[in-house]
């Protein structure tokens, strides 16, 4: 069966510090991968998606970036965090055929920027 991992589970970082969140998927090949951010009381906001190694599409211009160094690894980064980067970050995957739907989410990372 497929599983998706995210770490860390929680993170408190000062403004201006760098960020690296990691997501890995097991039990599937060539998945579509997604990074979302969820603010309190609001819907999930798609940040990035990837259809393959090194292929990243950005949905929202911001100070975040994403990379996919391996087939089942997706990394979310920032060089300098802003207060507005606080939120619940979720990684998700779908099969290559299921573009944007039937997504399976990881446990999430709660980021607080102070």
């Amino acid at each position: 069966s497929q599983t998706i991992h995210q770490w860390p589970a929680t993170l408190v970082q000062p403004v201006g510090s760098p960020l690296s969140l990691e997501c890995t998927v097991e039990g599937t090949s060539n998945p579509n991968l997604y990074w979302y951010r969820q603010a309190a009381g609001r819907g999930l906001q798609l940040l990035f998606y990837s259809v393959g190694i090194g292929q990243i599409s950005s949905e929202v211009p911001q100070n975040l970036s994403a990379s996919r160094p391996q087939d089942r690894q997706f990394i979310l980064s920032s060089k300098k965090l802003l207060l507005s980067d606080s939120g619940f970050y979720l990684c998700a995957w779908s099969t290559p055929r299921d573009r944007g739907h039937e997504q399976y989410f990881g446990p999430g990372t709660r980021l607080t920027v102070t």
Partner: protein
């Protein structure tokens, strides 16, 4: 701009009753609509997907309807249980597109 509206007020129902959640959307013609369940502090869990050419879909105690004329989906949980208490998210997408638009969700409380 595209907009999804879900009732921001929590829905409180008694165990055994049918819970009905509503999802309305504007400025969009989705090819499919999805429902996810999210527990506090956890990632959403995919429940059901219904396509634009389908009127109704069922899965165990769950039923989803999709009215593209009214731009509305209804999500029903029959014989509700306290374990059904969670936030339910509606999400829309287009054929071949990766961008899924999520609603903010409706919180459901089922009392024993």
């Amino acid at each position: 701009s595209q907009k999804i509206e879900q009732n921001s007020e929590a829905l409180n129902i008694q165990e055994g009753k049918t819970a009905t959640l509503t999802c309305n959307y504007t400025n969009y013609s989705p090819a499919y609509l999805q429902w996810y369940r999210q527990d506090p502090g956890r990632g959403p869990v995919f429940l059901l997907l219904i396509r634009e050419n389908e009127k109704e879909k069922r899965k165990e105690r769950l039923k989803v309807t999709f009215d593209t004329t009214l731009k509305q989906s209804l999500f029903h949980i029959t014989a509700s249980q306290p374990a059904d208490s969670a936030t339910y998210l509606c999400a829309l997408g287009a054929t071949g597109g990766f961008k899924t638009i999520f609603g903010a969700g409706t919180r459901l409380f089922v009392k024993a």
